[in-house]
Assembly symmetry: C3
Homo-oligomer: 345 residues x 3
């Protein structure tokens, strides 16, 4: 618990309201309750501040709206809010170093200093794990997997045989790295025979992988995830995909086999990329888009099939005005009819 | 096994056919085999009843179709069928109360009466679980999680630190509650730094969460799931989303950060909702729709971008008639050409 | 490591280049490095071969392009490449037969010969598993489940009560078979009550199920997956769906309740099929399509709502030419205006 006065003092900002108000939590403007502090960062959400139930709101210095809450004026409301929110949060749990006796660890596995291995973890033969790793309950690390320093595997994650993972990797629960690629040969009767998937997944440094996502191993060679790549929940990355540095994939994205995703590309939520395509450096694919052709570097595409923003929005506008277009055609038909009748007359 | 005569007697309904027919299972009309009982509830599926292989079909009293199966006439075919199906089903398995010796439970965790804790379950420090909980094999419950009475966690589920769950919660295998929200600050080079996700997930009473779904913890404050909410498989609920009471999310839905989903909203399969939007109470979003604007209470929207039903279906009809529209324009061009030539002549 | 000369000799093919080149890995043309071998199978990717960094490329006998790499000419580049890639791959790990002491196996479970049961596996009462099964760490097999011979359950998979699985089944990590169908009765206030899901899932022979996918048990009777069906990652199959033999579902597909998917149907990535529909034998549904009506056998449909290829591509072409169509209407309006003014004059 913090009082309004103590918060304002810590931040070194002026406040308006009763300094003894007690604040127990931090929340967005629309979800906040009277015991919460909140903040307004973007003008667009001005009405949220005017209707909030929060006890205290950190607002820009120029704020001139109507807000029931006590106020703290700040040149950087979001940053100030983050400082306060961190103090009000439950303390983050850091598992103690050590190996839980129920973990099953192959004799020849090499673990770095200060690792924390939780209950029921399984680490197979030939595994190398760097220092300061946290591997939570029920995680599985397959034979000959290599993982760098400072990784954090959340409970019930799976990294399968031979995959190679960089430093500072964070992997959320339910996710899978190194499942087989979806590859079959097909005979004339449509019966499929599995093609051995003998490649691996190679993940760079500073990568985060969300919950219930899956990254398939390569048919041969590597499925590659670059440095600094951030992948959200429920994402699928197929075999042999190559993802550049600092690319972002939001929840629900699917990338088909052998696609190349350039550096700093952003794939917005639930978009799909067809196989063997190249998404150029810095391109952005909109939410729910379906990409069926290469996307040049720096372009923003959306829709299905995905088109460049200008073209897609122009076509979309035309589509939404189709009823009027039809009326204009009907009007033309009537006027033409009149002219033709006059002529015949 | 039940005979037709014994089924009809139990239900107190008349039957037509050989009363000694033996029924071993219950199935839909199209999947049924001669040893199955089935039912017809909706006229629309009349042809399914006429083509079924089922041995017995429960039909409405007014049924006058051609059906090879023996018949039971009923004023409520679906309810009667459900009674019979329950008897024919394999007995539901109820794990015995008790704690499996392989479960790892923190000393200070508090478990209610009559809990059943399966093998390899992990329950961390500070956890509170109500009475009559069933926690199946491999489930993980993080530090300071609180769970109400009568919950059922299926195998290999994960509930992470500090989340709070109501009574009668059912969670299906592979699902995750409390994974980190997808939040980063970005510098000018497009390099992302993780923003600590210090909030929790708060789940109301009578909620069911399907398999392989994920609900992210809030950046701060709560991701909130109301009472009576039913969530299907493969669903993603992002950080700070607020879901009202009795809302429904069908398989494959994705809800982006800080969206507000009103009471009794229905999000049909594989639709997506963009961040910070509000879906008003009782609104319905169609399957595969992409919602890019607020949806007023009670509205039905679909398509991408999602539009109100009337508008969306009108535009869709216009789109499907574009070939004819083009022909009308060509026809106009010809007639106009004729008029112009006549005039010149 | 293999030299170019030794590879060519093994394959019985001529080579062009320095026979002592050392090859350590196999990779696609675009991801290959100088120590890799690659191949060109399809003319379409000719430019990839001309720009590859691979040390050796296996090309068609008729190859006449410019490629920096050493070459092996072959009448079947892909098959030859696969042979070499298998030799260069890390040796596949085969877990030794036996039962890990940490596995928890019900006394009355019946396991065939030569099974390998990993750490922390749970096998419940009444389970029957055929010979030569591999059940990896953390997998869960519920009461009375039956599994045929030669199955492979990857780590952290879950097969729930009473489900029946054929021979040679492969199940990837994080996947779930037998979660409850999404079925509720609804009262006038929109409050839902769970309908018991008392059916099972029945899976044929030679089926593969990808990572983080889920197949719901039937409300009653069976959710049925035919023989030879291949299902990718992140796929959802709802209760009572009937999937024919040799059907294929690519990543991200969602099939709603009671749909019938015919033999050899292909559902491409991220498409959705609404409930109770029939997709006829051999039909193909395009990526990201939304199927809202039955699809006749052998048809290829795509888009939302999904339409037959001819119709869908015609409409799509019309949509993309809407700007021109509007210009033609404006032109018509001007010309008509002129005629009308002349007439008035």
């Amino acid at each position: 618990m913090l009082t309004l006065a103590s918060i304002a003092e810590q931040l070194g900002r002026p406040f308006e309201g009763n300094g003894t108000i007690e604040i127990h939590g931090a929340a967005g403007l629309r979800e906040a309750r009277p015991s919460d502090i909140s903040y307004l960062a973007i003008k667009k959400y001005r009405s949220h501040a005017e209707n909030t139930l929060a006890g205290v709101v950190i607002v820009p210095e120029s704020w001139d709206g109507n807000c029931q809450a006590a106020l703290i004026r700040s040149p950087s409301p979001e940053a100030d809010f983050s400082k306060v929110a961190l103090q009000l949060a439950p303390p983050a749990h850091t598992p103690a170093p050590g190996i839980h006796p129920s973990a099953v660890i192959a004799e020849d596995a090499v673990l770095g200093e200060d690792v924390s291995i939780g209950p029921h973890v399984v680490i197979e033969q030939g595994v190398l794990i760097g220092r300061n790793a946290t591997i939570m309950a029920g995680a599985y690390v397959g034979v000959h997997v290599q993982i760098g320093d400072d990784c954090y595997l959340h409970p019930n994650t799976s990294i399968l045989d031979h995959c190679v993972i960089g430093h500072r990797f964070i992997m959320h629960s339910g996710s899978v790295i190194g499942s087989d690629g979806f590859g079959y040969s097909v005979n004339a009767e449509g019966i499929r025979t599995k093609i051995p998937q003998i490649g691996i997944v190679k993940v760079g440094d500073d990568v985060e992988l969300g919950a219930s996502s899956s990254i398939d191993r390569a048919r041969f060679g590597c499925t590659r995830i670059g440095n600094g790549v951030k992948i959200d929940n429920q994402v699928q990355v197929a075999h042999n995909v190559q993802v550049g540095d600092h690319a972002v994939m939001v929840s629900g994205v699917g990338v088909s086999g052998s696609a190349i995703i350039g550096d700093r590309v952003i794939l917005a939520g639930m978009c799909g990329v067809a196989g063997h395509l190249t998404i150029g450096e810095g391109a952005i694919v909109g939410g729910l888009a379906g990409v069926t052709k290469d996307v040049p570097a720096g372009k923003y595409v959306y829709g299905f099939p995905a088109l460049p923003f200008d073209k897609a929005s122009k076509i979309q506008a035309h589509v939404s005005r189709l009823p009027q277009l039809k009326e204009r055609i009907e009007e033309l038909e009537k006027r033409l009819e009149t002219l033709e009748q006059n002529k015949r007359a």
